[in-house]
Symmetry: C4
Subunit: 283 residues, 4 copies
């Protein structure tokens, strides 16, 4: 991207909002990041009763400022993208909408406290700005390792759930309602708490037989934690090895996004979008 | 399996029940899977007192429908297999029987709540339908890794149990009955809870010396969790490597089961059962 | 070991007690194993008040029988070894003594309940009989891996303890006595409970700042559990690799023990003890 | 370092304090190590009310002795280094100052209990004396592995925190104040407690839906613990491999410190400091 000339304001705005290679784009990202973190802090502080009572007005005004800022950003995103429908129903499009709307609804309905917490979804927007995939750099063999082991870990977790249901039912039969295992779902919940070595202790076996079975469950949980760990570390070792062998030629990617379909991670010398074939705006 | 012709109804039924390569076989499996999951849901809902009081009749009728369905399936399985005795006393044969019988017994004896939970064993039947081994596909080097490390993990868990008994006895001597360590088995139970990092907190050391020993137990538990994990991941790495080297020629297996001995996982071009030598019914 | 002839009774007894290659030796080991497990069961049952009250006499008599059996065995071991002093002060010699003596002391002093639990040390004797090293077979690269990583794991655990002391002191300053962090040692104990992800919950931070620091401690603990696991699995992978490369020529070892110094694991064709040079009794 | 001659007392003192290759230097380190451990013991004992009441004077006097010893050492360190300012504002310089000053302040202000605990920072000084890096010997590929995986583990922990905030907010909406989830920060704290499998149990979900979400959180936590472990063990395996291939020529380092800039780990045959180029005092 050598020179920027003959661009309409839409194109310029698109570059500022969606990319981080120009100074304006970087500034926009930093401001947005601060706004998101500030808004999350606000959501947290609001939930603390004693704090909300003291500084209610301050919190309310700050929340309105941030909501309006996000609304402007949301509209700007829709205008500058060529296919707005696609953006609106994309993952981040929905997150952007859901994290902006609660304050407006509170104006109409009033006191909808539950909805307010939806604003915490704003945190997911952080991932877009940070463009984490880029920061991770060459470490995408971690993601490959996770993808490669996804099927096996799913089967493993599925087996864990079945074991939890069967052992939970057995514990329900042994301990019964008088010891806190009031029904099978609760008993299964206890079993997952124990198998994963969390161990809250809100429910704990009281009968000798129950404690014996619980010991087996714990030793089992202790033994099987080795399985996902083993899979991931083995797959990851393989990934790094393959990586070395294929001499992973480090292609440099930039943060530019296609004005048509918003696809990212284009190569520095790309002339057209790899996703939709639209001309990229290299000045 | 090219054409299916000249088959008796028994042979056809056998194919539907035991195999999943024909449309009827697949349909049967899906219906059975839904029935099993529905019946597990019933068992769970029944155990919730408030729910059972409200919808007792509905639950009872649904349970009878499922029990009758399972009974028919059980009889059909016996009829279509050439050696019914072998099936009846096989692992799945016993599971099928135990998960069907409780409802009939409740008719005779009445109010045998404890037995009712036996029906949760139905969940084990899921494994048969899903034929998980197949779904796991080429990932059977996970199973090989687990088999290879079985002996070592057993020895390891055996050592953990011995450590738990000795440390449990020491904690019983230090803390005594007044701090919840009422007897040695309970003390050993506490020790397993702690070693496996579950930590319910229903029993916790109160004396300074007891807390010091507990700290040692915990750091020990934290250190030794590395052992099974290390074994599995190393074995798994080895398995994947051997796999690559021997160019694991992917033999395609089908879900067909021998009409004589119910052995599964025959090769696609197999003419005779690899287990009992009986002719397979390739049309 | 082809023929056994011209042996004194001492030599024969030594072979029965210390080795497991002859039928008599195997029988002796099995009987001893049962006696040990029975005695551990006795110690456990005795500690359960309700059980002890009912069957006190039965437990007492059984305990005397086992104590006398172990006494005879202890004496036999001393007689048949050429250097009894060495045996008496060896690890297993002390265990054998400590696990036999409590019952005799109870005769003299009476009601020394605490000492009685010493008998749980008998469990350590199981390791001798099982000769676990042999059962582990070729898996002694696990032991090598543990030895290779011992130094690093020690340094790691040492660092964990220092972190626990410093963080414990900080938590003591933040939470104070009113929230259960009554003094620094107790606070350090809490910190170890948390770092190792055990989490009893008998002490838990109550102040927001305390909970924030606790969160950091937990995430830290969650992150550093990776270190020992990573070390062991990497070392173990290395061991298995070296193993393959050096073509580990499977030397067959027998369970014979030297009559002079009790060294074990002699090669099948060994003529002299590898430890003291004493002639081995190959008939 | 062959012969030591023609040195001023400053140079000699520098050698004793900062190095461990001469007998005097070793003696100094051992005395300092004992003083540090004794002072930590004092801080702990002081915090135990019952102990402090009984032996207050003894503890006070011991603390003064150690404080004066540390003060002398601190001044000696400043005098013998050529650039004292650099030392004073170095990591260990600040630790040395902070761990010495509290007793003097208590003289002026009196009863500043909170400050007293600062003395626990003395423990950090242990790392300087032990010069752990050296003890770890060739194992610095563990440190390399940790460095190599630092970025990935940071991203991972960052993602864990974001997941905790979002799930914490959801749990706050579901469980609400009546079940202990009084505000979002507390709810996030609970979520971290659960995700890291610590599970105190001071807060635990009570509603069925909350328990269901909690189960998901736990299984998630159980699954993702595999990630940092996998990374570290894979990186460590790589480090050890690279190590072997590059034939890591074992350079022998000594504990000598530059009199000018205090840089350590000079090679045995080094004539000048690798950091500031100052002449090293090889007699």
């Amino acid at each position: 991207m050598n020179k920027i000339q003959n661009k309409g304001w839409k194109r310029k705005l698109h570059e500022i909002i969606y990319e981080a290679d120009t100074p304006e784009g970087k500034l926009f990202d930093v401001v947005l990041l601060i706004a998101i973190l500030a808004s999350i802090l606000l959501v947290m502080l609001e939930s603390i009763k004693s704090f909300d009572n003291k500084y209610h007005d301050l919190l309310n005004i700050s929340e309105w400022i941030i909501t309006i800022l996000f609304s402007i950003e949301y509209i700007a995103r829709i205008i500058t993208v060529k296919k707005p429908i696609k953006y609106i129903f994309s993952f981040y499009g929905i997150i952007d909408f859901l994290s902006t709307i609660p304050k407006y609804i509170s104006l109409l309905v009033g006191g909808l406290h539950a909805l307010a917490a939806l604003r915490a979804l704003r945190l997911l927007r952080v991932f877009r700005i940070l463009k984490l995939a880029r920061y991770l750099g060459a470490s995408n063999n971690l993601i490959n390792a996770l993808k490669a082991s996804k099927a096996k870990i799913s089967v493993f977790l599925f087996a864990v759930v079945i074991v939890a249901i069967i052992l939970g039912t057995i514990m329900y039969m042994i301990e019964g309602e008088e010891n806190g295992f009031t029904n099978i779902p609760k008993s299964v919940y206890w079993c997952i708490v124990t198998l994963t070595t969390v161990g809250f202790g809100d429910i704990a076996p009281q009968t000798p037989l129950g404690q014996f079975i619980a010991s087996l469950v714990m030793v089992l949980g202790y033994g099987i934690i080795a399985v996902p760990t083993g899979i991931v570390s083995a797959e990851y070792t393989n990934q790094t090895k393959t990586d070395k062998e294929t001499k992973n030629t480090n292609v440099h990617l930039n943060t530019q996004a296609c004005t048509n379909c918003s696809a990212e991670n284009h190569k520095d010398d790309a002339e057209f979008c790899y996703h939709c074939g639209h001309k990229l705006n290299h000045g």
